[in-house]
Amino acid sequence: MKRINKKSLWFVGGVILVYILLASTGQMAAGPTGYSGLGFSPTLSDDDQTLIFPYTKHEQSSLYMKAMDGGEAELLLEPEEGYSYEEPVFAPNGTSFTFLKKELVEDVQETARVQLMVFENGSARALTGAQHTVLEADFSPDGEWIYYTMYRDGIVKQFEFHKVNLATGKGERIDHEVDFSFGSFEVLSGQKIFYKNNSEPFAFDDQLMFADLETNEQTPVVLEDSYESEAEHGPALSQPALSPDQERIAFSDVGSMNNSTYLYNIFVMNRDGSDVEQVTDVSDFAGDPTFFHKSNRILFTRDSQFGKSREQDLEYWIVDLETENMEKVYIDMPD
């Protein structure tokens, strides 16, 4: 009877040895992983003087504050191991801000809680349960309520909209029906909200929407017919933001293409969807627009490596809506 020859055994032994060698040297050579740099979704105070932004070190974000007229950034909050602090939102009166405390398990987000940080106290407290995954949060215009969207128990199908009173701590679920979910919401006065209505996955029918939470009436923003996005499935309408006077909407969309890569730029239009105008001109990615409150400018996040490298490299930029001049916000990080 034939058997496996001796050479085979030597060969298997050799492969195992190479594997052990590669595995051990690989473990030794491994360094810190993940992106390090500025994060998405910075927030601007109502007086346009202060910027709070996440800064990521190997997938874990801390929150920093910076005066818009210059100076070094200052560390506000640093998470414990396994958590990341992201998506800060300034309170209308500027005395506090919310952010999401995301729990990371092997760099994958598991749950997220809304935290409130009052500058006077210098510490943050949780406003939501630890088992849910909060997606976004925003203050009511009077600063008394925090509205937030979440997946109950982290389950994507269980999308819910809630609010919590900051004085009493009492929360309630808001009954507002949407097709699937919504994002980039802003709470307006008089029980009204603005958001991007997300259609079912792969339906490609997202719409910007004004809604009345009392009557449940929804008014879609219909983009003018002449506007044509370069995105394959219609306008991306990413990260829409409403101007302080609520008359204009900024959003990110595919303005052009470079070979087969989408180039995202910031667009501004009237609240009825007319006069869509591209206001930035970058050859990579511009998103996350935020209107300044006291001047006709927009703060946006740019990924200068978009389409060029797998690694992102985020920067904050400002575009003047009158002159369309763009300038980079230089961030001097503390050592």
Binding site: N5, S8, V12, V18, A23, G26, A30, G31, T33, V108
Partner: protein, 287 residues
């Protein structure tokens, strides 16, 4: 076992023939060697010396065996070596790329890559022992090709120059796997016939069936990756994995079917190809 038998066994150890064919060749070679031995005995050599001279004249066992394997199953062993060693090399190259790009090795991926590469190389090294299990060898090479296909989803995360280089490497390796499987199935199915037209039909039937398998399993791999990327390791992954397993089992039956009725055997494959083509082209045609 005498020296002549040992020599013949050494020769046959290089050949992937099945037991019946092997027995036939063994008898033939022994008869030839015995005749040579007898001739040398008649020339005055001692029986031991005559045996030695007969073996020398017959040729080195490795050379004769390899020659025989290449004549009967051209390039098959070489293709297995190429697939196996290239898979191991791919593992080593990508290990350093993982380190360079993501700052951490992917040891699980490396282990699987090495396992497939080692198994395929072992089959090449032990072709006489394992080569006759045509379906099992095909299934192993097919799964190796599938795993290399999955590696594409890792390759696209590398910087662009490396992505292009490694995508080409993967494509060539997958193509080599498919060429091997088609040829291996062909050699399996032509055992009973030497008719030229039937051989051609069997060749076409093997190509059609494998192409259908690639379409089915390629889609399954896409869903495996999709499920893993969207929801992580979940029982849903078992559905596309099950599809691959079912197709492999069906392919075993198809190989036997092709040997007997090549035209009928390619009908399911043709249906799959037509369906996939229609589904793929419909959106473009409707635009």
């Amino acid at each position: 076992m005498n020296r002549l038998e040992k020599h013949v066994d050494k020769i046959l150890n290089q050949v992937q023939s099945d037991p019946a064919e092997r027995e036939e060749m063994k008898e033939e070679f022994l008869a030839h060697l015995s005749a040579l031995k007898q001739q040398h005995e008649e020339d005055g050599h001692s029986p031991k010396n005559a045996e030695k001279k007969a073996i020398e004249e017959f040729g080195d066992a490795g050379l004769v065996g390899n020659g025989l394997q290449e004549t009967m199953y051209p390039y098959q062993r070489g293709l297995l070596y190429v697939i196996g060693l290239a898979s191991i090399a791919l593992g080593i190259f990508m290990h350093f790329l993982f380190l360079n790009t993501f700052n951490e090795p992917s040891l699980g991926w490396l282990a699987i890559q090495f396992a497939f590469g080692t198994l395929v190389t072992l089959v090449a090294m032990n072709i006489s022992l394992l080569g006759r299990f045509y379906w099992s060898v095909n299934a192993l090479v097919f799964l190796t090709g599938g795993w290399i296909g999955i590696s594409y989803f890792a390759v696209i995360q590398f910087p662009e120059p490396q992505t292009y280089i490694f995508s080409t490497y993967l494509a060539i390796l997958i193509l080599t796997c498919l060429v091997f499987i088609i040829r291996n199935s062909y050699y399996h199915t032509i055992e009973e016939t030497s008719d030229r037209k039937t051989r051609r039909l069997k060749k076409v039937s093997n190509v059609v069936n494998l192409l259908a398998g690639v379409m089915i399993c390629g889609t399954a791999i896409f869903f495996i990756y999709g499920f893993m990327a969207m929801i992580g390791l979940n029982w849903l992954v078992l559905i596309p994995v099950g599809v691959v397993v079912i197709w492999l089992l069906f392919y075993k039956y198809q190989m036997k079917w092709t040997a007997r009725k090549p035209v009928a055997a390619m009908i399911p494959g043709l249906i799959v190809i037509v369906l996939f083509t229609a589904i793929t082209l419909t959106p473009w045609l409707l635009q």
